[in-house]
Symmetry: C4
């Protein structure tokens, strides 16, 4: 019973942020998260690594141990441990720990890259930050609500890139930088997204004409995701395709129950369309 | 009559997707479509082509034959064959077959490129995918409803590019990379669409000033397609230029029948404007 | 009186497009406009100029003469010649003629560039095209209504570019590509507008940090023109800063006369704010 | 008392712009501001500095003195000097003066850069311009209202850039241009913002695949700030997550008090959510 009390107090401190202790805990956690990422980043710079490499490795282990304790406590105090473990953040918390420990059992110079590869996941830890931002939800919602449309859009862009890339490969020919279709598709995506590295660029007049066309067209097409997300943030779509049975008016809001022009109920048609 | 039954069953399976068989058929088809495109793409990579080139060519013919059978069946089972043949997807289905067969009758090394050129159309087959995505319609609608405005917009951009390109040609002169007006127009489009390859970039101070101006101005102008598409997705425009005869209010929704400010009917004016 | 008839008939044909003759006239005119521009463009390509340079020069003069006749007729038939001459299109029509004629009185090799410079204006002739597209008006309106905001926005961007450019000049130093502040400002604009030629790019770690910051921030700031134009196309702003005197509600539509929350008239406050 | 009169007259002239004198004063001030910036900019160009360097330095001091007088007067005439001094523009006015004066007490060749660095702040003076543009407020409001969301968004982009950058570093390896994680993060930001300098670009096939993915995904994600700002300019959001207790309708405007579908009051739920 006294243990329960402790668990509850811990629970409040770790999982909630409305007590003074809870706030403090979260702030400390955030600092550690950012710190652990900076360690990874600066550890990759040779000049820095030569100077304070050892210090960074130690710091890394200290943070890892702290996070391990935190992870264990979270499991211990949560009323339903498994629900936490398999929750989104539960998995991220685990992913953030694994790399270092796996690094022990996979030693050897040739595995260094692999270890670094695992270590990368450490960065997922920062995703925890989103847990503390309430405003982030609006953006995530906007993106989440648009997921279907954006997926379709991305498929469209890829198809477009495949077609354009192949044509470009045929125009510029394998002698130019466009040495094969995958490379040309890469170029098409670089162009359609208006990134334009310039590592590949058309040299023939006809190639320049095609890519000019691609840019202008692509620009109009790429206006779509902006439109989708904007529409979601504004919270107004026009996906309602009902037509009023009386006045044939067809621009009803998605939440319309009656024709806003002649007042006829749209229910019947709705049942039909369902 | 029994034949009719078979035809109908086939029709349901091939043209519709709400039966179990229909779903399966479509899924198999999608796999084949993607496969056929991967063949074209990877077939262009030398390293891959040297290893499994023969296998790819065989795979390609297998798929082509399968698609031919599918095409024939579609024609056979469709109640009105000609309407299918000359429908959008009917033509795409045909375009997807032609290249390989034409490849037979146009042999010879010097035609290889041409054949590849025809083979490209194979990629149009993927456009079938859009048939299976319902969400895609919203995007296509948004683009289709904006087609008029976007066309005008594209014309504007081209005119702008022609003017800017010519000026740039005069400023940087034929000695620089801007060797003639077409090249300069290509540069103008690359800049206006914010792609910016950097294969051509102004070197003179005055040239840099002009292009800075172009970028900023262009950026504002290129906000237009986004606006158009967004407006279409939201389903709200303000193209209505009516003025209320009573209160002279002039910001009526496109679907307004009565002045939302003083209730005067807008019909009369509408008839006039018509 | 019979002359009047002819004038009127001419007027209808030239200035209006609703008669059959009028349509034909406009179509011919459009072809000539496009043709005259193609002449300028292809005339600049050496390879083409060497082959059919003479033909192009002749063609150019033929078109110029035709446009001169057209210009004279427009003046003759317009009820109020001066209003036409000093109208937008009147001036453009004139600008489209001048270059060639000025080309005569300014001979000499050393003036060739100048002549070409004047000849450029010939391209303004294409702006006539906009006269024939009705949909173009919506875009122009959207841009025209946003002119004030976009101007302010452009000033903002320029200020931003000046500040960023100067800082960049101090960070990268005159030894790098950022040899003076104007060049650095040019770089800042190239970056802010996401064009990114890459002719100049930061080499120092600190320079890369600053430009990363510039890109992300700039990206958010440059969302503004899109927002402005979109708002104009949708025809909905929220520039109304009135506060209801009764319920203190402050999110009124621009065209609101009564508080949509408590029905209190906003008139009085309006008079005050005026 | 007579002094008071002078102060008031001065106050009207300097702080307000509705008297004739006030307008003139502001116009002169704006000219000086722009002039002082041009001095800094052109002073950095060697070719110019060699010719008229001395003249520029003198001009600079003249302007600085004039601004000092202005600053002193502003303090003198303002009814509450401290409120002016610590106001936004008060601080900018000071920042605009400091550099030159600090330049005196920090002499020596090795400090030249530093002095220039301080001199840069001179440019902040131009920010005064915004005081004179009323339309600027709409843009600033749109950005200011979006500050929360944009901040979150920027954090997201940075996290994304860190993750992507690290992966890219592991794929392309330290032998390529991606020599360490900070450089790779810089590349990720350059790519995500579609700037694409091309100073770094993937060379391996897998690297090109990842960056293609980054570009397309990034493009969709970067649609968010545009959406946010647009929503703010239109003045319409959908952050209201209330659900009507009666009809369960959940798409209420942010300023809704009653369910627009069934008229049930939303107050109670509001109190709960608060």
């Amino acid at each position: 019973m006294d243990l329960e009390k402790t668990k509850n107090r811990f629970y409040e401190t770790i999982f909630e942020a409305d007590t003074r202790k809870g706030k403090l805990f979260d702030e400390v956690l955030m600092v550690l998260i950012v710190l652990s990422i900076l360690v990874v980043i600066f550890g990759s710079v040779n000049s820095i690594n030569q100077k304070i490499g050892l210090f960074l490795r130690i710091l890394e282990w200290v943070i890892t141990v702290l996070f391990t304790i935190e992870y264990a406590t979270r499991i211990w105090v949560s009323p339903n441990p498994f629900r936490y473990i398999f929750s989104f953040y539960g998995l991220i918390d685990l992913l953030a720990l694994l790399p270092n420990y796996l690094g022990i059992f996979l030693p050897g110079a040739q595995n260094l890259i692999v270890i670094r590869g695992l270590r990368v996941m450490r960065i997922f830890r920062i995703l925890k930050l989103s847990r503390y931002t309430s405003a982030g939800r609006i953006i995530l919602n906007a993106l989440w609500n648009s997921r279907e449309k954006i997926t379709v859009f991305i498929i469209f862009v890829i198809i477009l890139a495949v077609i354009i890339g192949t044509f470009m490969f045929l125009i510029e020919g394998p002698e130019s930088g466009f040495k094969d279709i995958p490379t040309s598709i890469y170029w098409a995506i670089v162009t359609l997204t208006t990134v334009g590295y310039g590592d590949l660029s058309p040299t023939t007049h006809f190639g320049q004409m095609l890519s000019s066309f691609v840019m202008i067209l692509g620009y109009s097409i790429l206006a779509v995701p902006t439109g989708i997300v904007t529409a979601n943030i504004i919270g107004k779509h026009h996906s309602n395709t009902q037509v009023c049975s009386k006045c044939m008016y067809d621009k009803h809001d998605d939440d319309a129950l009656y024709c806003k022009r002649c007042g006829t109920s749209l229910e019947v048609k709705k049942n039909i369309t369902r």
